[in-house]
Amino acid sequence: MSKKELGPDIIVCKDVNKWYGEYHALRGVSTTVREGEVVVIIGPSGSGKSTWIRTLNRLEEHQSGQIIIDGTELNNDVRNIQEIRREVGMVFQQFNLFPHLTVMENITLAPIHVRGWSRERAEEEGIKQLKRVKIPEQAGKYPGQLSGGQQQRVAIARALAMQPKIMLFDEPTSALDPEMIKEVLDAMQQLADDGMTILAVTHEMGFARTVAHRVIFFDQGNIVEENQPLAFFENPKHERSKLFLSQILHH
């Protein structure tokens, strides 16, 4: 595990709260993530881990507290939101590829319309990213013609083509057949090796163990425990994380 030196803080959350009506979904989440860090977020379902990762690019609004991404605060200012979304890539559980566009059009859409690149430059970047996830030969196909694993890798390439500083993964392998999970995890691991800042909500404990710098355990809308993966898996401190680990590991 050759982990590079980590950079300065790139994500800062201070006392982030979110309610869905009466339901208190996030209860004062505070943490920081450093540049180049790989953070894996685990926890039982409904614990708020997905909600938290979605507040980081304003897919969900937080009602109180402070989120600062790469020096820009997330607030109601649309320009700030747009600026942050340009620098934060996201990969979804259900891939969410655009079915009416080819793989290459999926990837070049945002660079052309958001970054204002020429089509040639965007396609050059697109091919580069497709090679990075090892499917350059699928560029002309439509998403419906690809397997789940290929679709998720296209989704990763689509996010990477915007050259983001941070990548968010929201359960990227949960909708995949077991044999396709590896190809997606390999792509994520390669990203981590290249020094990308990664926040991933996942149930892949193997990935957490080998790739992550830090594991964050969520329960009932807050961070219960965070530690280096070895320490966390071998010696969980909190009762809740002990119970969770015993349930998923001894099964």
Partner: protein
């Protein structure tokens, strides 16, 4: 292998056990038995009336001396009731025999297999086939006898006047003689080329669009220019049809819209309302799904400008004097005189005030409310009501001195009506797009407008093409309702053609012709939509 084949014997040829078959297939219960008797009875009736059917009457196969020619004799023989009925029965018997033979021998050819699957599916299927075949054959015979064998095709009124009493079928002359009337109504003949030009422009655009929206078409780059061309065509054709102002005669003479008529008017009305109701309906659909709370500033300014325009138009020439009663009964009055400036300022303040109140205290979604109310209101009234409103009520709301052409009023009414229906169709399409598509788009940094335009709308609209084209076809046919507000569209022109003295009483011919024209246009639209659907669907999902 050999041990298996040794035990297989050639299949026995089963005997046709009529009793068994009748008991199990035909008379298995009381209802089947009843139905069988009803079918047999109906077949008997139809066959009997087929054999005793009157021979058809011919109009054109008589020789000059009144004798029937050889061709006429042949037609009379072939179309006679006994001949047709026996031919159908013989063919039916051959088919039934083939199926029974194949069934008993277990030998199916492609023909007998098809017959068994489609025409002779058991006892009831076979009898229904016979019944329907005879009915269809005799209906066709009657149609041909009326529209062709017994019809008179001359469109010379003098000839027709002599021949008509002896013509047993249709007199198609009314269509031939009135083609120009059907095409352009009372539009002047010397400017008729302009109407033709407009029709050609629309046809060429339609053909180009059909080609450009083909998958992998070389014209794919011209899709956007074509959309603009359609929008530009509307004022252009209006201009061409209206002529150059100031010209009383000559090729570019002014033709007032009340002279436009016939197929020309139908096309003008339907193309304009289809092309313009689409963007309007789209906006309404998006508006009804709008999440914007409060009042958008743009609409405030829009309403202020509209109010100012409306009020300046209504403002009396000198100054506005209002008599305001102070006390309820037997009031002493105060006269207030407002300068135009004050007048406008007062109304502006009123508009801003209302919007401010709504925006700040009700915190409602004004756009959504407006769109919902509009859609439900328009969908709740019949088109005829909307047309009457456009024709009679609209002038009341307009400022003094502003008059809008009758045709324009009707077009606005059609657009408003169609847009409400279209909005609901588009909204259905928008709701079918999963939320993840929008999230993925904005997560990439696309703005709300961009994600709508590039991601959501292309998918949503493709999903509702059949419903939208259905709406457009309905609109095309509904343009025939404009006759009640005094416009002479194709149907109304047809009615006026019937009342010409030399063609009196020829409703059937005229309405059949009009129906064919409507059908050809509607069916072309339907075909185009099927093509579009297929072409836009390649490689997806």
């Amino acid at each position: 292998m050999t041990t298996i084949t040794k035990n297989v014997r050639p299949p026995e040829v089963p005997r046709l056990d009529i009793n068994h078959w009748l008991r199990n297939q035909v008379f298995s219960n009381i209802w089947y038995t009843l139905f069988a008797f009803v079918l047999i009875g109906l077949n008997g009736l139809v066959i009997q009336s087929g054999f005793t059917a009157q021979p058809i009457k011919l109009a054109f196969s008589y020789a000059p001396n009144g004798q029937v020619t050889a061709l006429g004799n042949l037609i009379l023989t072939v179309t006679s009731g006994p001949f047709l009925t026996s031919a159908v029965i013989i063919l039916w018997l051959i088919g039934a025999g083939l199926v029974i033979y194949s069934a008993t021998q277990h030998r199916w050819t492609s023909v007998s297999h098809w017959l068994k699957d489609s025409l002779f599916t058991g006892f009831f299927g076979a009898l229904t086939t016979l019944l329907l075949t005879i009915i269809i054959v005799f209906s066709l015979r009657a149609m041909l006898a009326w529209g062709f064998f017994g019809a008179e095709f001359s469109s010379d009124p003098k000839v027709v006047e002599l021949i008509r009493p002896n013509t047993p079928g249709a007199v198609w002359g009314i269509v031939g003689a009135n083609l120009q009337l059907f095409a352009i109504g009372r539009y002047p003949t010397e400017a008729g080329w302009r109407a033709l030009l407009c029709l050609v422009i629309v046809m060429v655009l339609a053909a180009l669009s059909l080609f450009a929206w083909n998958f992998g078409s070389p014209l794919i780059k011209f899709r956007r220019p074509l959309v603009y061309a359609w929008l530009f065509t509307i004022p252009l054709t209006y201009g061409i049809l209206y002529g150059l102002p100031g010209n009383e005669t000559g090729p570019m003479m002014v033709v007032k819209t009340d002279l436009w008529g016939g197929f020309l008017l139908t096309v003008v009305l339907s193309v304009t309302s289809i092309v313009l109701s689409f963007p309007f309906g789209l906006l309404l659909a998006l508006g009804r799904r709008s999440q914007t709370k409060g009042v958008p500033y743009l609409s405030v300014w829009g309403f202020i400008l509209m109010a100012i325009y409306w009020l300046l138009g209504n403002y009396p020439s000198e100054s506005a004097t209002y008599v305001i009663p102070v006390i309820f009964r037997n009031p002493p009055t105060v006269n207030v005189t407002l300068s135009p400036f004050m007048y406008v300022a007062l109304i502006t303040a009123l508009v801003v005030g209302i919007f401010w109140l709504v925006g700040h205290y009700l915190e409602g979604n004004l756009i959504k409310t407006f769109c919902t109310v509009y859609i439900e209101l328009v969908r709740g009234v019949p088109l005829i009501t909307v047309l009457f409103m456009a024709n009679i009520m609209l002038p009341i709301f307009l400022p003094k001195g502003v008059e809008i052409d009758n045709l324009l009023r009707v077009v606005v009414g059609l657009i408003m009506f169609s847009a409400a229906y279209l909005a609901e169709i588009v909204r259905g399409g928008l709701q079918s797009i999963p939320k993840g598509q929008y999230e993925a788009a904005v997560a990439l940094g696309l703005s709300t407008t961009q994600s709508m335009r590039l991601i959501i709308l292309p998918q949503a609209l493709r999903a509702v093409i059949p419903a939208m084209v259905g709406d457009f076809i309905g609109l095309f046919k509904d343009t025939s309702l404009v006759s009640i507000v005094g416009l002479f569209d194709l149907l109304k022109i047809a009615q006026s053609a019937i009342s010409q003295p030399e063609w009196l009483g020829l409703q059937r011919e005229t309405y059949v012709f009009v129906a064919i024209v409507y059908w050809v246009c509607s069916f072309s639209m339907s075909l185009a939509s099927q093509r579009l659907e297929k072409n836009l669907g390649v490689g997806k999902y």
